[in-house]
């Protein structure tokens, strides 16, 4: 599919002072960050840190209480339909219809996203993601790992400029997860896509992400390239950094590191 915009903005995603409150609960508390076009950024945080709410606001399916979200230069609160065709999304918590076959699901979403030469595109994706043998099987009959690959195929159908992935390798065995990460890397380099990944898997984030935004209680507590964060906290791995952040040990860790 030809790229829609020849000169994309420097920052594909811009979030400014984003706040989301659900009644008394503040899920996202004034976060600001940018994601450079063509980069992969990880959104890290424990359960309830605000990752999914942030992704949802970037997609425009949750309205912020205050603040601004721009994707590909478009205000996602007011004009999200201008860019939704250039975005896509995958999450293990949002299903595709299980009664439809894999090919039927991909056909329906191909129509929704206006994918040209759809049969060929489905065939190529099925080959790439090792789904050819399952194309005619009901999606609900597949294993969790196979369904994750189908969801990824749906997310890549339109060669999105901006791809949001919520735990893209959840429920995959290590071998398949490693393979999927490789495929995401290949996809990004092929189309210069901007990818934002919410994940609990630190090895995945270290491998895929140029930049990491760390969330706790709806606030950004740190950000930077994975190796910078590891060095700054004086740790050996991003997982140790994550634990420091999750347990609010940053000061101690920083002091120890210095």
């Amino acid at each position: 599919m030809p790229r829609s915009v020849p000169t994309p903005p420097a920052d594909a995603i811009v979030a400014e002072s984003l706040v989301k409150r659900f009644g008394a609960l503040t899920a996202v508390d004034g976060i600001s960050f940018t994601v450079r076009t063509g980069s992969t950024t990880g959104l890290l945080g424990g359960n309830g840190a605000g990752k999914t709410t942030t992704l949802s606001m970037l997609l425009g399916i949750v309205l912020p209480t205050s603040g601004r979200v721009h994707v590909l230069g478009t205000d996602m609160v007011k004009h999200r339909y201008d860019v939704l065709q250039r975005m896509n999304f995958s999450s293990p918590y949002v299903d595709l219809p299980r009664r439809l076959s894999v090919a039927e699901n991909l056909t329906v979403y191909g129509w929704l996203y206006g994918v040209s030469d759809l049969k060929r595109r489905i065939r190529v994706l099925a080959e790439d993601l090792h789904l050819t043998a399952f194309l005619d099987r009901p999606t609900g009959d597949l294993s969790a790992g196979q369904r994750t690959r189908v969801a990824l195929a749906k997310a890549l159908l339109n060669d999105p400029d901006v791809l949001l992935l919520d735990e893209p390798t959840a429920s995959l065995d290590p071998d398949t997860a490693d393979w999927v990460r490789g495929y995401i890397e290949t996809f990004r380099s092929r189309v210069n896509a901007t990818i934002l990944i919410a994940s609990h898997n630190m090895a995945e984030v270290e491998r895929l992400c140029d930049d990491v935004v760390m969330l706790r209680d709806g606030q950004i507590v740190d950000r930077g390239p994975p190796q910078d964060l590891i060095g700054r906290y004086g740790r050996q791995s991003l997982e140790e950094v994550f634990l420091d952040v999750a347990r609010n040990r940053r000061v101690a860790a920083s002091a120890a590191g210095s």
């Binding site: 999450s91 009664r99 129509w111 929704l112 996203y113 206006g114």
Partner: protein
């Protein structure tokens, strides 16, 4: 660029395709659609056979009860056509995928209405045809006015179904039973089997505000007086425009509320 299309028939077609795939794959679903209207027709066919011999009113127009039950099923099935199609997205936890796709909320409304037309025709047509050989009653004998009766009931059923879908979106699957029961609140006021003159005076304004009441009056005018009451059809259509617009605005409002409350990714059992 397609994403900036104000309205896309391709996206509406994608939603229809998704549900036609489900129907194509499941013959029990197809059978279920036609089953209840058929059973209703049989039941009222026998009641008609009995009443023709014992009631002057029914004897004047033997097809009145079967016609009424078939037309009521148009309203009921059109309501289910919208609400159950929407519920299927919630049961499948697919709503989030739809709302992050370029499908606009009002395209979803259009697709739900079109899907409801398809489901209603599949539901009611077999029973309507079988009534001819089984009981000698042809609803098609209503003539050209039948098209207006059918269309008005279809539109009203879709409006009711869309309002229910909006409530389910707002309050979750706990409200799903509304899809099957809410429409029956309209039955006594619609004068399906009796003229609305029999209603208490204080209920008359409510009945007259329902398109269905004018449709069934129109049906009886054809069957008893051989008169095509286009005025009633026009009145029902005008009311349907109001209900259609109101239900669409209500649905769009509930989509916005769902976006404010973060409900779109949380739907499901």
């Amino acid at each position: 660029m397609h994403g900036r299309d104000v309205f896309s028939f391709r996206r509406v077609g994608a939603f229809l395709l998704r549900h036609l795939y489900v129907l194509k794959r499941s013959w029990p679903r197809l059978l279920e659609l036609a089953y209840w209207p058929f059973v209703q027709m049989i039941l009222w066919g026998f009641i008609t056979t009995f009443l023709v011999q014992n009631s002057n009113w029914v004897a004047q127009a033997s097809g009145v009860l079967i016609s009424a039950v078939l037309l009521w099923d148009v309203l009921f099935r059109a309501n289910l056509g919208v609400s159950v199609t929407f519920l299927e997205e919630m049961w499948a936890r697919n709503l989030g995928q739809l709302f992050v796709s370029p499908l606009r909320a009002y395209e979803l409304v259009a697709a739900l209405w079109l899907m409801s037309c398809i489901r209603t025709v599949i539901s009611v047509l077999p029973a309507a045809f079988l009534a001819v050989p089984l009981f000698g009653v042809s609803v098609f004998a209503l003539g050209p006015v039948l098209a207006t009766l059918f269309a008005n009931l279809l539109l009203f059923g879709c409006s009711v179904g869309l309002a229910i879908a909006a409530l389910v979106l707002r309050f979750g699957l706990g409200a799903e039973s509304l899809a099957w029961v809410a429409v029956f609140a309209l039955a006594p006021l619609s004068g399906i089997y009796y003229p609305i003159d029999v209603l208490p005076q204080w209920l008359m304004p409510i009945a007259l505000a329902l398109p269905s009441a004018h449709v069934f009056e129109g049906m009886r005018a054809v069957l008893f007086e051989d008169a095509a009451r286009w005025d009633l059809a026009g009145l029902a259509f005008a009311l349907n425009l109001v209900y259609g617009l109101a239900s669409t605005l209500f649905f769009l409002r509930m989509v916005r509320v769902a976006r404010m409350r973060g409900l779109l990714l949380q739907q499901g059992e």
